[in-house]
Structure formats: structure tokens, C-alpha cells
Subunit: 525 residues, 2 copies
């Protein structure tokens, strides 16, 4: 069993655009425990009060699979371990494990912490020993180990020996600057194994040479039993080693166990969850867990996939909780549209002109719509071309306005005039922005006819400027995700006017929701 | 010298959200030639008329470093090479090189193209030979080579032999499904070298196991002299091998030449250029070329970097045309802010309260502002706290409205009331969206006082929804890049109201531009 050591909450949060609240961290930790990682590094209690508070709350919670670890440096050059605040903060975190980082590189000893090689060895041994004496399991992170080894192998090995003398349970070899190549990792791990055949080794890689995953796998092949990394590879600069790739590579390709039996299928959901909490758009192209990881666009690939799924997929996507997708786009053929209609239970009329629908779809894509992530808009587009189509409402007019008046702050207001079952409804609402006001006015107009729309919740609202180099004249694409508590759907709108783009996506979203519900009731009725 | 074979324009454009026009392709090809890659694969002339047109134009242009290659499949199972339309389209492309892809895997021979192993060998040999007879250099792409080799090494090797008999110049081993691990690549390339010691070999890797870069490097180490990949790793599913990482890994870490002398510094600009043309936000965390690749956020790293830059950087960023960045963010200290003021030539007053400025900055970040990419807004924030600060204009009121009236289409209009030098200007403008109308009204009001603003062009306008799960009530962050033809600056605004957020960024942008110009004139005067 390979130990997966997650440091999303500590090293991952060093990424320039990530800032987790304490609740965010606790929520992510719970999900990591549920996935079944061996260790969760929660933060650096000596560096900020937020992390200290995290540990106060975390240590009183129940953890099914993971052990919680607190991170900190060795004691300062001029202090004993028992008088160092950073070491004290580690103890106060009350975690079963502490991870202590120390210097392996003479460059850093001389130029960064400015002490003697001998004193650095003392700092390592004493810091580890002090925490072990207080009952903690200690993981020793050998910072810049590979660079240090290349400078001076004897000294780098001596720092590991100091950590072992202190009682460290695991020695983790860190490629802190992320520039080491896979065969260098292989050779150096082998040398460490030869020197310390009994020691338990780990690997901590960064992605600055774009080899973090390969470096981690090579290290495991050479005998490391712990892999440190982060969900989605989040981390400073170019990121940490991506556990969402490493875990399936280990389990599906190398035949090793890294998670409890049956837990690998949780990986895709977890990846998206962490992206959401980090407030980052999930990277669609991430291996294994990305939305596009098993997406097929070209007609030839799609045809081959129908013959045999193995032909253009390296694994079955369901093993990691993902799925294959056939993308509807300007490269699509009639088959893609027909299979989308089937998927959504839309019985197309015999005379349905699929070629003309495809032509319209492509011309809308040329205007800035994108249907790849907005299948409900594709379904509405097909639905509107059916001979029995009756729109649930028709737009006559809308307005949206924003006013900033000195001393009176901002006001956003919208009006909507729609026709429902022959009746004209004209109403208005305000909101905390023009799109919110429009959303509220439309719902107000439709509610008497379709009370179910009160259960439609906008889950996500995304705006993308398509040709940003046209400045404020650029085309705007709006994507809206809506849920009714049972199912979720996505719609799209595009225009140079962001209000109009939002209107298209909103109107599609509400119309789809009304249609989907009526269809479901018919089936059940 | 390693041959860099770029397939951004063909395999790269298979990415779900990329669609290049012919001009886009020609522009990118020119930049790739300027970088100095050995081959540019322009497209698949047999698959669509757009690619055929690309070659008609490309073959008449002058290329300094690169050879242009057209891509296509071997002839169909039931055809001779000389009667196959796809092969004919390759000839008609008139390129000096043709790249022919054929099947290496028995699974594909039996289940996808549904022919006999023997006929597949005929298709390969005949297709290559026919193009060679017509004076083309032929590169043979052995599709699914690694998977095919694992199924049946003898057959996979026999397909390479067929291509060699046909006269192929280079045999490229493709990991089409992207799931092969580095040591497997190493072993299989070694086996091919042993079998064909005289043949020139290449590698074409995909990133489905997140090992594409490592796989390419390992293949080079085992003797491949051609590396196929794409700029920024764009490509279907999880992408192709990323040339922006492979090239510097080869040159800076493995001591090999991949580009003409002195051209490596062009890499970062090229990466951003291709992202812009592809209409994708550049990935800030890309190794070597990402904006955050050498960004330092934590105080301890920043302090160590001041002592010795090597301490937390694996290479000197200037070697690839990138630079180090100290990030101003909620983790910043006073030092970060002071060095930013210096960088922008702002002489802070002796009594300047840096602690209070830092506090304001952090509280604005908590509201959704982000100053990491908007340094002009940081400078304006500091500037406004200087005792000699005189605002060039003061906002009194603004309004923006959008109307959609049946039969009359969309109207967007804005009004602005500002005070300049004691005078109140109240004016209005329309636009193709509310923000564009506001931009135009503000410029109209200020133009009589600051005619230089006519030279301020909005280069980019980006919108990000911060807490999308609040639906249309979410906080919106707007980033604006402005240029006056000499310098470029970026500003930020945030609000739940997108119009207000845009206003903040616009007003900062114009105020910064006016201030920067007057400061430059003072220095020159």
C-alpha cells in the first residue's frame, strides 16, 4: 500500500490565486478523508493563526482513514528545539503527526539560513527528537534534497541520517524547485535506498520541469512508499505533483494500492469539489478527472470509439468516476446531434431537418455561443424546431438599468414584458446587479403560471470575454448552471451586450426547466 | 540538434475549445518559424477545405527555419495509394514534407479499419513509397505504437519496417492514447533502436497519464531525434506533449540544442501569443512560460530569493524570456508594497502610512478585488494616499441602461456626470453593450481636458465570477488591460454589480494613464 500524503491545504494553498477559509479547509479535509488518503497536512500552525485554529477544530473531529499532520520548520539556527516558537506551535497543534522540513542543501545552509553545516544537522536531529519524545509521529521533509545531493551527496545523506537519529518515521525527498528530471530522481532515490536500506522513504515533487507526476512514479518504482502531492496539482509557481493523476497511475497502471478498495471512483467528484471550494474553474483537460479527459471531438475518433471504446481511451473512465463525452461543436456531424437528442429523451419528428439544425448550430457557434458545456441549450434548440413546439412564454420587451448617484449608492432595476398563454405580463424588480434584477423580474412574471420555477436555483454563472482585445466592445459568453434539486442543466448565451447574453442563457434555463418537469410528469403520469 | 516538430495547428486544434481561422494558422506558423522549430504541421488537407487553403497560401511564403508538413492517413484498405483521395490531397498540398499516419496495433487493424494485418502493411509501404516517388520527404507516424507493441511486438515492428521499405525518412513512435509510462517508453524505444539501428526515430506523446513531457525526454535519451508536440500542450482530451516545457528541458537541463542559438528567449512571448490567437486565457501556472512560473508569494520565499535567486528558482527565468514576480496579495508584507511603489517610480511621502495602505488593500481583496494582475490599481491606491494627490476627475453620477424592445432590437446607453477642474460635465453615449456605452460617455466627458485619452486603447477586458454558486447575485471581478501605444497597464474592479465593477476598473485605467503621461512629461521636461 502506497501512503498518499495530501498537502493541498498547506503547499497547495501557496498557489497565487488560492485562499482557503478555515471552513473551506475543514470541508476539503473531510472529503479527503472520505477518499481515503493516508495523511492530510492541514497547515503551518507556526506561520499564521488561521492554521492554528484549523488544528484546534480538526483534532476533535473523527477521521476514518487519514491521519492529520501539522507542518513546520526545524528550530532556528540560534535556538534549542525546546525554546523555538515554531516547534512549540507544532506541539500545540495536538496532531498525531508532525512534518518537519529541514535543509539538505549547503547552498541554503550557507546563504539562506546562514549557519554552519554542523549546526544544521543539530537543528534537524533535535527538532525531530523533541517532537518524537512528545509522542508525535514525525515525517521529515528534506527540502531541496535532489539539488543538495547534486551539490554534495555526503552532506545531503548526512542530513537524512540526522533525521533518522532523531527518530523520524519517514524521510521524504523533496524536489522543492521542481527542476529535477525523472532519471535523476531514479538514480538519487536508488542511492538513498542503498545508504539507508531500512528507512521508509517518500517523494515530494514540484512541476517546474513538467515532470512532477513522472518523478513521483519513478520514485515509487525505486522504493518510495509515501507520495506527497495536491489535488489538481495546485501549488506555488507551476504546482505540486498532481495526486489526481498519480493515484490512478499507481492503481490502474502500476498495480499498486493507494486508496481503500473501491474508492478510486470518488476521484473525479473530489477534484471538482476542491476546484469549486478553491473558487477556480476546474481544468477541463486534467488527466483522468477533467471534463475533456475522455471527450471525443473529431468524427473519425467518434466512429472508432463506437466500434471499440479502447481504441482512443487509455482506461475505462468509470474507474475514476468520469465518463466519455461526444462533443457537439462545429466539427460535429449529424450523429452527434442525434445521439444528444436520444440522451435527453427528445423524440425527433420524422420530418425533422437535422441538416438545417446543424447549420444553425454552427452559425450560432460562429457568433460566440458554445454548446459543448451547455447541452440544455442544444436540447431547446432542437425542441423549438419540433412541429408540436409551444413556447411556455414569449418575450416582448425587457430593460435593465444601473444608476450610481452621489450619496445614494448603486441601484439596479429591470423590467420584463412577456406573453404567457395569450396573456401579457409586464413587471419589474430590482437586484444587486442588472442580471440579478432581470432574473428576478422574469421569475416574478412567470411564477403565477409556473410555480415550480421557485425550485430552480442558479448554481453557477460564468462570464467569458471571447475577443478581449476588442475591449468593452468584445463578445461576451454567459454560461448558467441551474438545478431543481433533482437534476442540473446548463445553458449558454452570447452577445456583445452582456445583459443580452445573460438573457439568452436565463430564458433557455427557465424554459428547459419547465419542459423537463412537464416531460417527467407525463412519463410518471 | 533535436528536431522540434510542431503540430499545434493540426493535433493541437483538436482540443475541444480551439478553432483556428486560416489567418490564425498562418500567423501562428510565422511565429513558429521565427522561434526556429524544424517542422510545422499545418493541417490535414484531406479532411477539410480550410486546411487545403492553408497549404495553398503557406507554400508560397518564405520560411526561414521550418519545413511545412501536411498530415494524412495511409490509403484506405480497399484502395491503391495512387487512387486514394486522401493521398492525392497530400500531394496537392505541395509541401516539401508529408506526414503519414498508419496503424501499428492489431486491435485497430482488426476492429477499427477492419482489414488483414498483411493489407495494413501494404497500405503503409505503398502510401509512403508513392509520396517519396513524388519527391516528398515522408515522416511516418506509427499510431498507437506503444499499445500495439505491448499487444504484439513483432507486428508493431513489421509496420515500421514497411514504412522504411517505402522510404520514410523518420519513424515516429506515437503514444496516441497517452497512457504509457516513462520506463515503458524507454524500454520500447530501446527495442526499436536495437531492431533498426540506422533508422531516424521520433516521439509523439499525449498527456493522459500526465507523463507526456517525461515520456518525450526519456525517448530522446534513448535515441529519438525528433519530438512532436504543441505549444502550451494544447490537444485533444488532456493535450499533446508541451513543447514549451520540452524545449527548455532539452536545452537547459539535458544540454541539447533544439532551437537556433539565442532563440530560447522567445519562448514565453510565443506561448502567450498562441494562447491569445486560440482565444484561451494563458495558463499562469505553465512551467517556464506561465506568468506564475517564477512568482513568489510567501514572505519567507521572498526573503530567501533576495539573498540568492537560485534558492527557489530552478533556472534563471530570463533564459526563456520570462521574469520573477513578487506577488502583492493578502500574504504580502510592507516590503512587497514598497518595492511595487519603487518599480512604478512613485516617491512615497515620508509620512506615508504603509500599514494602513496594506490594511485597505487586504480588505479590498476580501471584497473580491485582486491586485496580483492589476498593478496600476495598486499604484493608484498608493497615489491617492499621497498628500499632494489631485484627482484628474471626480465622479458624481453615472447610469447605464439596456433595452430590448420587440421589433427594435437592443439599445445600450449610458450617462456620466463628472467634475473636472471645478467644472461639471454631464453627457451621454450609446454603445454595443452597457460597459462600452459607459466607456464612451466617460471619454466624451474627459476628452476636452485630456485629449491624450484618445490614444488609450482597451486591449483586454476580462470578467470573472468569483462565487458563481450565488448565481446572478455573485461578485464579479473585472480586469482591464489598457495601452497607449508606448506602455501597457492593468486595473481591477469588483462588485456584485458588473457595471459598477467595470466602472472601477475603467476609472482607474483612465486615471492611471493620465497620471503616467504627466509624470513622463515632467521627467522629460
Amino acid at each position: 500500500m502506497i501512503q498518499i500524503y495530501d498537502t493541498t491545504l498547506r503547499d497547495g494553498s501557496q498557489r497565487t490565486d488560492i485562499s482557503f477559509s478555515i471552513d473551506d479547509k475543514l470541508n476539503i479535509a473531510r472529503r479527503l478523508d472520505d477518499l481515503g488518503v493516508a495523511f492530510i497536512e492541514g497547515g503551518w500552525p507556526g506561520s499564521n493563526p488561521k492554521d492554528a485554529e484549523f488544528f484546534r477544530r480538526a483534532v476533535n473531529m473523527e477521521w476514518r482513514h487519514a491521519k492529520i499532520a501539522a507542518f513546520g520548520m526545524t528550530c532556528a539556527a540560534e535556538k534549542r528545539a525546546d525554546e523555538d516558537e515554531n516547534i512549540r506551535a507544532l506541539l500545540e497543534a495536538q496532531t498525531p503527526y508532525c512534518t518537519v522540513v529541514g535543509k539538505s542543501s549547503l547552498l541554503h545552509v550557507h546563504e539562506v539560513i546562514r549557519t554552519t553545516p554542523q549546526n544544521n544537522l543539530r537543528m534537524i536531529e533535535e527538532s525531530v527528537a523533541y517532537l518524537v519524545q512528545h509522542g508525535r509521529g514525525v515525517i521529515y521533509d528534506a527540502e531541496h534534497f535532489f539539488d543538495g545531493y547534486k551539490e554534495d551527496p555526503d552532506y545531503a545523506l548526512a542530513t537524512l541520517e540526522a533525521a533518522l537519529r532523531g527518530g523520524a518515521e519517514t524521510l521524504v525527498l523533496c524536489d522543492t524547485n521542481g527542476g529535477t528530471l525523472p532519471w535523476e530522481v531514479g538514480e538519487i532515490v536508488r542511492a538513498v535506498r542503498t545508504r539507508f536500506p531500512e528507512a521508509q522513504l517518500g517523494i515530494h515533487a514540484h512541476n517546474d520541469g513538467e515532470c512532477a507526476v513522472a518523478n513521483s512514479l519513478v520514485a515509487v518504482r525505486e522504493g518510495c512508499v509515501q507520495v506527497q502531492g495536491t489535488i489538481n496539482g495546485y501549488g506555488e509557481r507551476c504546482g505540486n505533483a498532481n495526486l489526481c493523476s498519480i493515484i490512478p497511475d499507481l492503481e490502474l497502471k502500476m498495480g499498486l494500492k493507494a486508496l481503500p478498495e473501491g474508492h478510486l471512483v470518488k476521484l473525479t467528484d473530489l477534484s471538482h469539489y476542491v476546484a469549486e471550494v478553491a473558487n477556480l474553474a476546474p481544468d477541463e483537460h486534467l488527466p483522468y478527472v477533467g471534463r475533456a479527459a475522455f471527450a471525443h471531438k473529431g468524427g473519425i475518433h467518434v466512429a472508432a470509439m463506437r466500434r471499440t471504446p479502447r481504441s482512443y481511451q487509455h482506461i475505462d473512465p468509470e474507474l475514476v468516476g468520469n465518463r466519455s463525452r461526444v462533443v457537439v461543436s462545429e466539427l460535429s456531424g449529424r450523429g452527434n446531434l442525434l445521439s444528444k437528442a436520444e440522451e435527453y429523451g427528445l423524440d425527433l419528428d420524422k420530418k425533422f431537418d437535422i441538416a438545417s439544425a446543424l447549420k444553425d448550430l454552427k452559425s450560432m457557434e460562429a457568433q460566440g455561443f458554445s454548446f459543448e458545456a451547455a447541452e440544455a441549450s442544444v436540447v431547446m434548440m432542437l425542441r423549438r424546431r419540433q412541429p408540436d413546439y409551444q413556447p411556455p412564454f414569449e418575450l416582448i420587451d425587457f430593460t435593465a438599468s444601473v444608476e450610481h448617484r452621489q450619496g445614494r449608492g448603486m441601484i439596479a432595476e429591470a423590467t420584463v414584458k412577456v406573453r404567457v398563454n395569450g396573456e401579457v405580463i409586464h413587471t419589474a424588480a430590482d437586484g444587486n446587479g442588472p442580471v440579478n434584477a432581470l432574473d428576478r423580474a422574469l421569475r416574478k412574471a412567470l411564477r403565477p403560471f409556473y410555480p415550480e420555477i421557485d425550485h430552480f436555483h442558479l448554481k453557477d454563472y460564468k462570464v467569458r470575454i471571447l475577443d478581449g482585445n476588442h475591449g468593452t466592445m468584445a463578445t461576451t459568453r454567459v454560461l448558467i448552471d441551474t438545478s431543481n434539486g433533482v437534476s442540473q442543466w446548463s445553458t449558454v448565451g452570447a452577445s456583445t451586450n452582456i445583459i443580452e447574453a445573460s438573457w439568452f442563457a436565463l430564458a433557455d434555463s427557465i424554459e428547459y426547466g419547465i419542459w423537463e418537469l412537464s416531460r417527467r410528469q407525463q412519463h410518471e403520469g
